[in-house]
Structure formats: structure tokens, C-alpha cells
């Protein structure tokens, strides 16, 4: 009778009252005898006397386990008729009788007697009140007992018993399913509103069970398992309801319950569990319909299939809009991880949301606003969302232009474009968001045609605006977005003439994912000393790797151990001989030997023949002749070598050379087989020039940097070159000699003159000492020195030696001084002029605004310079002006993340470069400027770490903070080692703060 088949009976009010009294009396009796019971058997018999009137019980099931005295009593109890029992059951659970008895059962009996109950009695007599009862009543009674307190503390026995009963009732006994069934019948004596509130109450209780259960409760009640099983029952209930009730509109209560339960599950944070049950069902159902072979079209079959309509009903019943959003969001995320195609994706969305989408404007705005503009989904989800919410037709349909849908699409596109095209959006939105919206626009544009765009005048304008402000971005990913949109746009305008702004997107279909494969790492090196290659470098590397691959491939194609069939060779030989015999058969002897004359590879190129420039003046001259591209190229070929040779005239020609090298136009493409492009050669030549003649070339290069006559790319080139030069100078090992050598520079070749000492020895072996005069076979005195290249990249076969005919004493006088870092003396010349004019805005120069990339590069270069002079006194001197520059508001709060990143980098470099003892002594001497500067670095890095939108900025700021604390620690150590700790305690305060 607990079953759903039980038919509703009309119980007359009179009868009802009558039996009500009887039941209450009986319950009272039972409670009384339980209270007075002296042993467990008395309790059992009291319970039985009541239970037998309510449930069909078999006393024999537990009779064996009780005393004979009571057994007779139990067996002797009169068993009522089925009708009467049914009647009693109704009354018992609809009246106060059940709560009254339950209170006794759950607290008193559970505490005092239940442990003594035989297992069979417990199951058949005790549990039966809860398992075979009216589930909604049982739940309402049981759940409060999960947190039963007496005297202010939790009754463990009561709670665990309640937990057990709930698990049995709701999970083992399919209680939730029963609830669903129960709720389909609205009792006549209560109104719809009351019923609904009851439903809400019950569902709230049911879903709250895992949260109310104690810490150590059975795993069945743990949130994950509990919700999972409940969900299964709920869905089953919905399916049953769908099958049983053809007239959906009238009987909505079951679905109301399910929807409410779903909403509460979401509210309690178990949406994932809910969806993990829902998704497989929906997917299989959708896939079964989508698979081809049906007579009907997919869309017809979906609409006719009534068995699936409960899904949308459930979603309709979820009144909580937050829950709907959670469900739809997680649904999309989860579906994206599965192998779902666009058609299936669309139909899944349709199945769940089509009704509420039509009915509720909040849902519509959720899809068209929140999911397009605010959230970030995988691109496949984006397609489904667009298809479902904007196009509103299945994707397999030819897109038939329904005017309203089309209008819809146009409006959406326009709305997206309005956001997308704003410069602020490019600057501040996270990259994922940008990629998502870009993809949304791209996908929408693909559906549009030229007429549509013409109709909306501002769309075109917005597209151009968005593309142009993205193309300047330092991030290649952002540029790629722009070029993708430009490509789609150009295809819309003229499908036959696509516009490729970028080499990377040559494929037919655009990759809207902007996947990580081609994300650029950091535009700038991270501050902890490891330099991350810039994108440009990466691409070069890629190209080189490709070339290498190519070479490898070619090599593998040619097997050096190739087995040559002698027969073929003979054939060749004989054919050769035939030839020969044809034109000269007079000499048989020689014909056979002709075969020995196999030609070598006859390929020839004339690269070595082009006459090269040997004077820097000629190089300058050739570079100035911009119309002679070949000459320019050849000049670039030799420029670096000539500069590295550091001829005497270099200082005089340096400034001309700098100007011509910066201003020459050269191609960035590498010819087949050539190692470097002209662009690289130019850069290397400039680096060599700065390295070899810093003072002569830095002045003109700084002038060029702020000159209105150069463009952004040239400015970037200048800064790149300065950076490289600073690094090279810092790495260079220099030999300073007190006297200029009169030695002849003698480059000997591989075949060694017999009088030279053996050159055999490990690479990097020590300097050659002189051979004493007496041992020499010649009567001359020779002295030898060996200068091995220190740069790993510069491996050449030949050795250069200085060969001099000087006496030993002279050589000793001439002893070489080695210094590791050549950069510090030039640091000021590198940095100060570059820092002077960054905030000036003149014709063609606007570092703070339009040319922010140059500014970023400039700051980065300054950072590198600091790093290169690290621990030298020059660093301390230059740190202050640099920090001053960095802390100006226009720079440190620049709108572009790129600039902020380089500021963080430079600040980190300053922290690295300062010698702790210098900081300590500056503090002791009371130099407030330095401590102010360092304090600014700390606070600013903190604020960036807290509030910056850019992820890289955040991580770099963290690294910067770490460096700062490191430096503070070192400084405090330096201070401790000196005696003046006390004096400067106050000044150090800011530093100590974050040491602590």
C-alpha cells in the first residue's frame, strides 16, 4: 500500500475522526508500554501490537528471537483486515500519530532499547515504521533528528540511527522516487499553494541531508554518492512521469519537485554530480536521434519525440535562475570535453533549454549576453551557443535567412563588435576573454554576407578599428586575432580575394582556438635571470629547426652506405665506352680506362666570387646606395667582420656607420642555404659596432632613437641592438695591456710551421709562455702567446696567435690584465641619454602613447643594462635615476600591460644589480632617495600583484617582491655585520617589514 498503485480513497470525515481517535489511542498505549517496559521484549511486543495494525507483518520473522512469554503475546495479537489496515495507515501518517511515535522511536527507543533489539526485530518492527511509511512525512520527521541535541550536545546514538534510517529510506528503498510519485497526487484537503510549499520543504530537507549528516556518517550520506543516487532516482521519476502523464499541463507537481531538487543540488554546489548523471543520458538519447537512417529529419524527430520532453520541463521547473546558469555553464564545459559534434551540441541545448529560452527573457539574456560577452567557453561550445541562441536553427540546416533571425545575428555581432573594438578592452581584458570574443565575432561574421555588413554602417568601422588597434599589440596572439578577423572580414567582402595579414593563418579554416601552440611566452624576459626568448627569436629558431630538419631529411635520403649494384655501374661504364667508341674507336686500350673518369659533383655557385668590401668607408658608401640592393646586401655581409676587426678608422666612421646601418632597408627573408637574413646581419653589425666603439656609436644611436626620421621598427631595432651590445660587453673578457704590442699578428694555417710549439691541447688551455732562447733551434728569440676564443658561438678552426720577438722580460712587463665585464664603464653612456626624452612628445615621437612598444623595449633595455652592471659601483649610481623614471605615473601605471611588464622587469633588475653593502651604507648615510625608491618598488609590485588584470604582470610582480625581500635580507645581513645597526634602524624599517 505504500506503492504508487494505491488508489486514493475517500475517507469520510466522520470515519476519519473516528479512526483518528482510535489510532491515537493505540499509539498512546504503545508509547506508554514502551515507557514502562522493563525489558526489550516488552518493547518489541508493544511495537508489534501497533505495527500489526498498520503494516502486513509476519510475526514469525522475529518471534524466534524473543522470550516465549512475549512470543505468545505477539502471536496472539489479532491481525486486522487489509482494508482496515489501509485505513489505519492513512490515518497514522496523515495525523500527529506518526510524529509522536517517531519521537519516541527515534530518541527513547533508539537510546535505550535499540541496541538490545534482535536484528530481525529491528528490521521488521522498528525500521518498518520509516520504510513503509509515507516518505514525505518520514523525511520531515527524520531529517531534524540528524542534528538531535540533548542537554546541548549531539546525541551520537540518535544521530547515527537517523542516518541509518535515512540512507535506508531514501537510497536503498528508492525513497526519492517514491516522493516523486507521492507528489503527483495532490491531497484534496490542501490547496495548491500549500502543496507546493510542502514540496519545496521536502525537497529542501532531502537535499540538505549530506550537509546535516555528521562528520563520520556513513559514506552513503556523503555528498557525492548521496546526490548521485538521488539524481538517478529523480531522473527516473521524471521519466516515469513523462510516460504516465500524457497531459503534461495539469499535473506538474512531480516535475516541480524534481526541478526544485535540482535547483537545490546546484545551490549546494553539486552541479557536477548532477550533470555527470544527466549528460550521459541526454547524449545517448540525442545521439540515437541524430544518427542518420531515420525517416524523419532530425528536427522533426526531436519535436515529435514526446519521451524527451521532460528535460525541458525539468529546466522549466528549476525556478532558480542561478541554478539554471550553473547547470548550463557546467553542461557546456563538460560537453566540450566529450566528443560531441555541432549537431548534437545544438540539440542537447535545444532539448534542455528551448522552452525556457522562449519563455524567459532572463535565460535569453543569459545566452546572448553573459555567455557571449562575459564567460569564456571552449570554441565548440561557442558554436553551439551561437547556433542555439542567435541563429536559433539546427546547424545542419542550410542557413535560411529568416529576417528576424538574421536581424538577431546582426545585432549580436554588432554588440560583440562594440565591445571588441575598444582599445580599453584590448588593454585590460584577459587574453582568454579576448580570444573568446574574437572567436564569437569570427564565427558570426562567417555567417554574414556583404549586404548585411553594408546595411549596418558602423559594423565595418568597428571591425577596422578593432583590427587596427590589435595589429600594434606586442603579443603575437592578439595580432593573430586581428589578422583572423581581417581574413574573415575580407572573405565576407570578397570571397575570391582573402586578405592574409599574417603568414601563420594560411589554412582554409581559421583556428579560432588560438591554442597555446602559438602563444607567445612573455613579451619580455622574466626577471629572475632566465631570459625568455622573444617571439621573434622563437620564430627564428623554428625556422632554423625546420631547416635542420630539412637537412636531416636530405641526409637520410642519401644513404652513405648505399649498396650500389655493380651491374648498373658496369652498364654505365659500358654505355660510356660505347659513346667513346663512337667518336673515337681507334684506341681500344684506353676505352676501358675511360670508365674511371666519373665526374664529381659539378654544381657550382658564385657566392665566393662577389668582390667584397674591405674598407668600412666602402661599406658606408654601399649602404647609402639604397637602389643597389645587391651592393647593400654584400656590404651587410662583410660589415660585421670589418667592424670586429676594429680598424683604426672605426671611431671616425662609427657615427656614419650607425646612421646608415639603422636607416638601410633590408629584407628579413633568408635565402635558401643562407644562415642569416640581411636583417640579422645588420643587427649583428650594429652590435659589433657598439661593442667595438661604444662611445663613438652610442651618441648617434641615441639621437636616432629620438629622431623623428626613424620609424617604430627602427627604434625597436636600435633598442634590441643596444640590449645585445650591453650583454655582449658584459660577457666580454677583455685583455688590457699596459703597452701597445708591437707584435705582428700572424694567422697561421692548419699546417704548422715546424718551429712553432705544438698546438695540441685541450680547448681553453692556458696562454702560451715563451720558449727560452737557448732551446730554440734558431738563434732568434721567440715568444708565444695563445689567445683562445672565449665565446662559445665563435668556434673557428684556425688559431690566432700573437707572435712576437721580444725578450722574456718585456713579456712579463706586458702582462695582460683580464677583466670579466667590460660594460660598467659604458653603462652611463648607454642609459642616461636614453632616459632623457621618453616623456617628450614631438613630431613622430610619442613613447608614452602610440609607441608604447618602444617604451617597453626601452625600459627593458635599461633593465638589461642594470643587470649587466650588477654589483658594480656604476649600478648603484644609475639605479636612482632609473627608479625615478620607472616610478613616474605615466610609466608605472601605463595602460598597456607590455609596458608594466617591462617596468617590473627593470625594477627586478635594479634589485638584482644593487650591491647589498651599498644599500646598507646608503641607508647608514641617510640617503633617503634610495630607500624611497626601493620602497616604491615594493609597494608598487604589491599593488600590481593584487590588482593587475594581466596574468604575467601578476607573476612578474610576485617575482619582483621575492627579489626585493631577498635584497632586504642581504642588506640587513650587511648591516648586522657592520656596527651601525642601531643608527639606521629607523631607516631600514620599510625593508624589515617584508623580511618579517
Amino acid at each position: 500500500m505504500v506503492d504508487g498503485e494505491r488508489t486514493e480513497k475517500t475517507i469520510g470525515a466522520e470515519l476519519n475522526t473516528n479512526s483518528n481517535i482510535k489510532v491515537l489511542e493505540k499509539v498512546g498505549e504503545a508509547i506508554l508500554s514502551i515507557n514502562q517496559a522493563k525489558n526489550v521484549d516488552q518493547v518489541i511486543s508493544a511495537l508489534y501490537s501497533l505495527a500489526v495494525r498498520l503494516f502486513p507483518l509476519d510475526s514469525r520473522a522475529f518471534a524466534g528471537s524473543i522470550d516465549k512469554q512475549y512470543r505468545d503475546e505477539v502471536i496472539g495479537v489479532e491481525v486486522p483486515s487489509e482494508h482496515e489496515r489501509d485505513n489505519w495507515w492513512q490515518v497514522f501518517y496523515r495525523s500527529t500519530a506518526f510524529p509522536t511515535l517517531a519521537r519516541v522511536l527515534l530518541s527513547d527507543v533508539a537510546l535505550n532499547w535499540l541496541t538490545c533489539f534482535p536484528t530481525s526485530a529491528k528490521r521488521h518492527l522498528y525500521d518498518v515504521f520509516f520504510l513503509k511509511g509515507c516518505v514525505s512525512e518520514v523525511v520531515q520527521t527524520l531529517v531534524p533528528y540528524l542534528q538531535h541535541h540533548s542537554n546541548g550536545k549531539l546525541e551520537t546514538a540518535v544521530c547515527s540511527n537517523t542516518e541509518r534510517l535515512l540512507a535506508l529510506c531514501l537510497l536503498e528503498n528508492d525513497g526519492v522516487l517514491q516522493l516523486a510519485r507521492e507528489f503527483s497526487h495532490q491531497p484534496e484537503n490542501i490547496s495548491l499553494e500549500q502543496h507546493k510549499s510542502a514540496i519545496c520543504k521536502v525537497s529542501q530537507l532531502v537535499i540538505s541531508v549530506p550537509d546535516k549528516a555528521r562528520q563520520g556518517a556513513s559514506t552513503l550520506l556523503s555528498s557525492h554518492i548521496y546526490i548521485k543516487r538521488i539524481t538517478i532516482q529523480l531522473i527516473q521519476g521524471a521519466e516515469e512521469w513523462n510516460n504516465n502523464y500524457t497531459d503534461k499541463s495539469t499535473n506538474f507537481n512531480t516535475i516541480l519537485f524534481i526541478g526544485d531538487a535540482f535547483a537545490r543540488i546546484c545551490r549546494r554546489g553539486s552541479t557536477d554530480v548532477l550533470l555527470s548523471e544527466m549528460i550521459p543520458r541526454i547524449v545517448t538519447q540525442v545521439q540515437s536521434l541524430v544518427t542518420p537512417g531515420c525517416d524523419l529529419t532530425i528536427s522533426e524527430s526531436f519535436k515529435s519525440k514526446s519521451s524527451l520532453q521532460f528535460w525541458s520541463k525539468i529546466m522549466e521547473a528549476v525556478k532558480d535562475s542561478y541554478a539554471v546558469e550553473r547547470i548550463s555553464e557546467q553542461l557546456l564545459q563538460k560537453l566540450a570535453t566529450q566528443n560531441i559534434n555541432d549537431v548534437e551540441g545544438y540539440w542537447i541545448l535545444w532539448l534542455l533549454f528551448h522552452e525556457i529560452f522562449e519563455l524567459q527573457s532572463s535565460i535569453r539574456s543569459m545566452f546572448t549576453e553573459r555567455f557571449l560577452l562575459w564567460k569564456v567557453f571552449p570554441v565548440c561550445c561557442l558554436r553551439w551557443i551561437l547556433q542555439f541562441s542567435v541563429l536559433q536553427c539546427p546547424p545542419d540546416n542550410e542557413f535560411k535567412v529568416k529576417s528576424d533571425d538574421h536581424c538577431n545575428l546582426l545585432n549580436t555581432t554588432k554588440r560583440l563588435l562594440a565591445v571588441w573594438s575598444k582599445r580599453e578592452f584590448v588593454q585590460s581584458a584577459p587574453i582568454e576573454q579576448q580570444a573568446y570574443i574574437t572567436a564569437a565575432i569570427g564565427l558570426s561574421l562567417e555567417k554574414l554576407n556583404k549586404e548585411d555588413l553594408d546595411a549596418t554602417k558602423d559594423a565595418m568601422h568597428l571591425i577596422l578599428q578593432g583590427v587596427s588597434c590589435r595589429l600594434e599589440s606586442p603579443s603575437s596572439l592578439v595580432r593573430q586575432m586581428a589578422s583572423s578577423i581581417a581574413l574573415v572580414f575580407s572573405k565576407v567582402i570578397d570571397p575570391s580575394n582573402p586578405l592574409y595579414l599574417d603568414d601563420t593563418c594560411k589554412e582554409e579554416t581559421i583556428n579560432w582556438e588560438f591554442t597555446s601552440a602559438n602563444t607567445d611566452k612573455a613579451g619580455l624576459p622574466i626577471s629572475d635571470g632566465k631570459e625568455v626568448n622573444t617571439t621573434q627569436d622563437n620564430s627564428f629558431k623554428d625556422a632554423k629547426v625546420k631547416n635542420k630538419d630539412k637537412e636531416l631529411m636530405e641526409l637520410t635520403l642519401l644513404d652513405p652506405d648505399e649498396v650500389i649494384d655493380p651491374a648498373t655501374l658496369n652498364n654505365e661504364a659500358t654505355s660510356d665506352v660505347d659513346d667513346y667508341n663512337d667518336d673515337d674507336n681507334e684506341d681500344d686500350d684506353e676505352t676501358s680506362s675511360e670508365s674511371s673518369l666519373q665526374p664529381y659533383d659539378l654544381s657550382d655557385d658564385d657566392t665566393d666570387l662577389k668582390n667584397n668590401f674591405s674598407q668600412l668607408v666602402d661599406v658606408v658608401g654601399a649602404l647609402r646606395k639604397s637602389d643597389d640592393a645587391d651592393g647593400v646586401e654584400r656590404a651587410l655581409d662583410v660589415a660585421e667582420k670589418l667592424i670586429r676587426a676594429a680598424p683604426d678608422e672605426l671611431p671616425f666612421i662609427a657615427s656614419d656607420l650607425v646612421r646608415t646601418l639603422v636607416q638601410v632597408r633590408c629584407s628579413d627573408s633568408t635565402l635558401e642555404g643562407e644562415e642569416e637574413s640581411a636583417e640579422e646581419k645588420r643587427q649583428k653589425a650594429l652590435v659589433a659596432l657598439i661593442v667595438n666603439c661604444p662611445l663613438g656609436s652610442l651618441d648617434p644611436i641615441h639621437k636616432l632613437l629620438y629622431s623623428p626620421n626613424v620609424d617604430t621598427s627602427q627604434r625597436i631595432l636600435i633598442l634590441d641592438v643596444m640590449t645585445d651590445a650591453a650583454l655582449e660587453l658584459a660577457r666580454a673578457k677583455t685583455a688590457r695591456q699596459k703597452h701597445p704590442t708591437r707584435a705582428q699578428i700572424w694567422t697561421t694555417a692548419e699546417t704548422q710551421p715546424w718551429f712553432m710549439p705544438s698546438s695540441i691541447g685541450p680547448a681553453g688551455s692556458s696562454i702560451w709562455k715563451e720558449i727560452s732562447a737557448t732551446e730554440s733551434p734558431l738563434s732568434l728569440t721567440y715568444s708565444y702567446e695563445r689567445d683562445l676564443p672565449s665565446k662559445p658561438g665563435q668556434i673557428k678552426k684556425g688559431k690566432s696567435r700573437r707572435w712576437s720577438a721580444k725578450s722574456m722580460n718585456e713579456v712579463q712587463d706586458n702582462r695582460v690584465e683580464w677583466s670579466q665585464n667590460k660594460f660598467p664603464p659604458f653603462a652611463a653612456a648607454f642609459m642616461l641619454p636614453a632616459m632623457q626624452g621618453f616623456d617628450k612628445k614631438s613630431h613622430g615621437v610619442d613613447f608614452l602613447g602610440r609607441d608604447f612598444i618602444v617604451l617597453g623595449k626601452l625600459i627593458h633595455m635599461l633593465g638589461i643594462c642594470m643587470k649587466c652592471s650588477a654589483m658594480h659601483p656604476e649600478a648603484s649610481a644609475l639605479a636612482l635615476p632609473l627608479l625615478d623614471m620607472l616610478s613616474t605615473r605615466e610609466i608605472s601605471h601605463h595602460a598597456e600591460a607590455y609596458v608594466r611588464k617591462s617596468v617590473l622587469f627593470a625594477a627586478s633588475c635594479v634589485l638584482l644589480a644593487l650591491n647589498p653593502t651599498y644599500v646598507a651604507s646608503a641607508l647608514v648615510e641617510g640617503s633617503s632617495e634610495l630607500s624611497r625608491g626601493l620602497e616604491w618598488v615594493r609597494t608598487w609590485a604589491l599593488s600590481v600583484a593584487e590588482s593587475d588584470t594581466d596574468k604575467e604582470c601578476y607573476t612578474m610582480a610576485m617575482a619582483c617582491l621575492q627579489l626585493h625581500s631577498e635584497m632586504a635580507l642581504q642588506t640587513s645581513r650587511a648591516l648586522e655585520s657592520s656596527d651601525s645597526v642601531i643608527q639606521c634602524g629607523l631607516l631600514l624599517l620599510p625593508l624589515y617589514i617584508e623580511v618579517a
Partner: protein, 413 residues
């Protein structure tokens, strides 16, 4: 061929020597075997090496540079044996030459100062003073030529008619006033017919640059000038031909001891002179459009190779009986300028020294290219094969002499 000789059969693979002292290795394997590198590079000259030649029997190599230094190298150990400044540094050496005809212990150097000097080699050292010094008073670019004799094999000699044998020399313009001497000179040569070994001749461009002069080396006296028009025939053969740029004297076995001279001129003409008729050349042809810079004759004097300042190499045949010089094959080059040619003694291959820094090897019989040797970094001035056909030397303006070993001859051939 016996098994033991298989190594020499070059059909089975490349014959590339790789040793540690090579200046460079080839970067990649290509579909064909890459051209070989030199087996050795002889360094020591301080100026452009103008000429190089092997000693006919010893392992010696002579090289002369434009600063007047003559070096003698051991061609096996690749070491300098001796070095001497044999001509003034200001003028330098045009050519060095040696031949069995002047004796095994002699080497001739020709300087731009207009002198030709003959040096004795004693224990690898040069004599302090030249044994003979000819002050020819000639100033030009033409390398002298010793008389090349037909190689021992004479089995084809019957094909050639002997009566055409003469000395072909060609000289420049008119020279009417020399006509009187003609008779006397001719008779002298006739007398020396039997004792050629003792009377080495040298052919070179004369004081008058369009003439060819023949000198007796031992006597240090000029014995003929070509052209040498007799009083009757007013010879204007050399008019407009310009300077004599290359000369090759040879003595075909059928020539009854009369010298023949092949001369190349500035305008590209080649003239074949028989010394018996110094007035007019036996024949003259113009295969080249630019100055002819070098000749090389094969061992049988059936033909030869010429290179010039234009972009071709010409292989020609000479027919003594008809007195004809016929173009056999013209090899066109990408880049003009062949400064030196040399046919190997076995007549299999020949090499050219190009202005384009390359030594090129061709099959002499067929004229097909065999190798392009890239080692020199400046103009190549000369190329020369050793008499035993095993080695080849190339001289270049980059002050080096490179030794090569290519297409080794069959040992029993």
C-alpha cells in the same frame, strides 16, 4: 686487371683523401660525390704564385711568385726545400719551367724584368747564381715555353706525313730587316738536328711584343724570330693581332727536327708556325674572341687545349700532314678567364686554372667536365700535372699552391 689493382679502379667509388691538415671539409653529401679537397696546401709564398711545375722525374715542385721568389718543394713531404729570390721583387716571376730537354738538374725562371735565368739544382738547393741568364729584354705577360717533345710512343706516327715538320713559331709584325738572317738560322737548326738534347731552345714573346723569339738556352742567343718575313714577302700577319700572349714550342717526331711553335695573340688568333717558314704561319685560326692566355698540347701533338680571356675553353686538333688546326670542341664557361691549362701526360684529363678561383678538370678525349675544384680564394694562375700523372698542382694569387690527387692513372697503363 688483377685484384691487387682494383683499388685504382675509380669506378667503384670516390677517391677522396681526407686528412687532418685539410683546410676544410665538405659540408653535406650531395647526390654525387663532392669534389675532392686538395691533399695538401703549400704555403710560404708571400705574393701571388704565378707559375708552378713539377720536376720531370724527382719529387720536386717549383713555384714562382710575383715577388720574385722561387721555391722548391718536396711534393711528397709537402715541405719547402729551398727558397730564393731569383728575380727582383718589383718585377717578380712570370713563369718557372723545367724539362728533360734542359737536363734534370736545371730549372728556368722567367722574370718580368725581361730576363730568363737557368738555375742548377744541387741537392735540392738552388745555385747561388744562375748558370745561364738571358737578358731578353722582353716585357710582356707571356710565359716562355720549353720545347715539348713527342712522347716515346710513336705507333701512330705513320699516320703523319713527315715532310711538314718545321718549327712553327710566330712572331709579330713585318720584321723585314730580319729576313737576311733567315737562311743562316735555318741552317743552324738543321745542323743541330742530331743533337737536340744538347741544344735546348726556349720560345717566348719577343722584345717586339707581337713577335715570338726562339732562344738557344745554352748559348743564350736568339736564333729565330717569328714572323720573320723574308725580303720578298711583306708580312703583315701580325698586324692587328696585338701582343703574343701564349706560346708553345714543340717538336713532333715527324718534323725532322724542325721546331713548331703555336702562338696565341691578343685578339684571340692562334698561329701555327713552322720554323722552316718563319714568314707566314702554317695556319692561323681564331677560336677565341679575347686574348689567348695559355695552351697545352697533348703528348702526340694531335691536338691541344687553349684557354683565353673569353668565356670558353677550346679543344682543337692539329693535323701535321694537312697543316690544319681544327676546332674539336668548345666548352663554354659561366665566367670568363682561363689563365692556365695543362693536359696530363697520359692524355686522359686536362685542368684549367680560372680567374674565377676554380680549377676545372675535364675529360680530354670527350671534353666533358669532371670536376670543379674550389679551394683557392683568388685568381688561379697556373695548373700543372706531374709527369707520373699522380699529382696536380695549382697556383693562385692567394699565395698558396694546392696539391691534388685525382683520377689516379692505372699503374700498368
Amino acid at each position: 686487371m688483377s685484384d691487387s689493382h682494383d683499388w685504382y679502379d675509380d669506378t667503384s667509388g670516390s677517391h677522396i683523401r681526407c686528412s687532418g691538415d685539410l683546410p676544410g671539409t665538405h659540408k653535406s653529401k650531395m647526390s654525387k660525390r663532392p669534389p675532392p679537397d686538395p691533399v695538401a696546401v703549400l704555403r710560404g709564398h708571400r705574393a701571388s704564385v704565378m707559375d708552378v711545375c713539377f720536376h720531370p722525374s724527382h719529387n720536386l715542385l717549383f713555384s714562382g711568385s710575383s715577388d720574385g721568389e722561387l721555391r722548391i718543394w718536396d711534393s711528397v713531404q709537402h715541405r719547402t726545400i729551398s727558397s730564393a729570390w731569383v728575380h727582383s721583387a718589383a718585377h717578380g716571376i712570370i713563369s718557372v719551367s723545367t724539362s728533360p730537354s734542359i737536363g734534370n738538374n736545371k730549372v728556368i725562371s722567367q722574370g718580368k724584368d725581361g730576363t730568363v735565368r737557368c738555375w742548377d739544382i744541387e741537392h735540392g738547393e738552388l745555385s747561388r747564381t744562375p748558370s745561364v741568364s738571358i737578358d731578353a729584354n722582353t716585357y710582356h705577360f707571356c710565359k716562355l715555353s720549353l720545347v715539348k717533345r713527342a712522347s716515346g710512343d710513336t705507333k701512330n706516327s705513320d699516320k703523319l706525313t713527315p715532310h711538314h715538320v718545321k718549327e712553327a713559331t710566330e712572331a709579330s709584325s713585318q720584321e723585314i730587316y730580319h729576313g737576311v738572317q733567315e737562311e743562316a738560322e735555318n741552317s743552324k737548326i738543321h745542323k743541330n738536328d742530331d743533337c737536340q738534347e744538347g741544344r735546348p731552345y726556349v720560345a717566348m714573346a719577343g722584345a717586339e711584343c707581337s713577335e715570338v723569339e726562339i732562344w738557344d738556352l745554352n748559348a743564350a742567343e736568339r736564333i729565330a724570330r717569328l714572323p720573320h718575313s723574308s725580303g720578298a714577302s711583306k708580312n703583315d700577319f701580325t698586324r692587328g693581332k696585338g701582343m703574343c700572349m701564349a706560346v708553345q714550342a714543340f717538336l713532333p717526331s715527324e718534323a725532322q727536327g724542325f721546331l713548331h711553335v703555336l702562338a696565341g695573340y691578343e685578339d684571340g688568333t692562334m698561329g701555327w708556325w713552322d720554323l722552316r717558314n718563319p714568314g707566314v704561319p702554317l695556319t692561323s685560326v681564331r677560336f677565341h674572341s679575347e686574348p689567348v692566355l695559355s695552351f697545352s698540347m697533348d703528348g702526340m701533338f694531335n691536338g691541344g687545349v687553349s684557354g683565353g680571356a673569353d668565356d670558353k675553353i677550346v679543344i682543337f686538333t692539329l693535323d701535321l700532314s694537312l697543316g690544319s688546326c681544327i676546332l674539336k670542341k668548345e666548352i663554354s664557361l659561366e665566367r670568363p678567364g682561363i689563365a692556365g691549362t695543362s693536359i696530363r701526360a697520359d692524355g686522359k684529363i686536362f685542368g684549367t686554372a680560372g680567374w674565377d678561383h676554380r680549377i676545372r678538370i675535364y675529360n680530354y678525349k670527350k671534353g666533358t667536365p669532371l670536376a670543379i675544384l674550389k679551394y683557392h680564394r683568388a685568381t688561379c694562375n697556373s695548373v700543372s700535372f706531374a709527369a707520373d700523372c699522380k699529382q696536380m698542382a695549382s697556383a693562385s694569387e692567394d699565395t698558396t699552391v694546392a696539391l691534388w690527387e685525382l683520377y689516379p692513372p692505372r699503374p700498368f697503363a
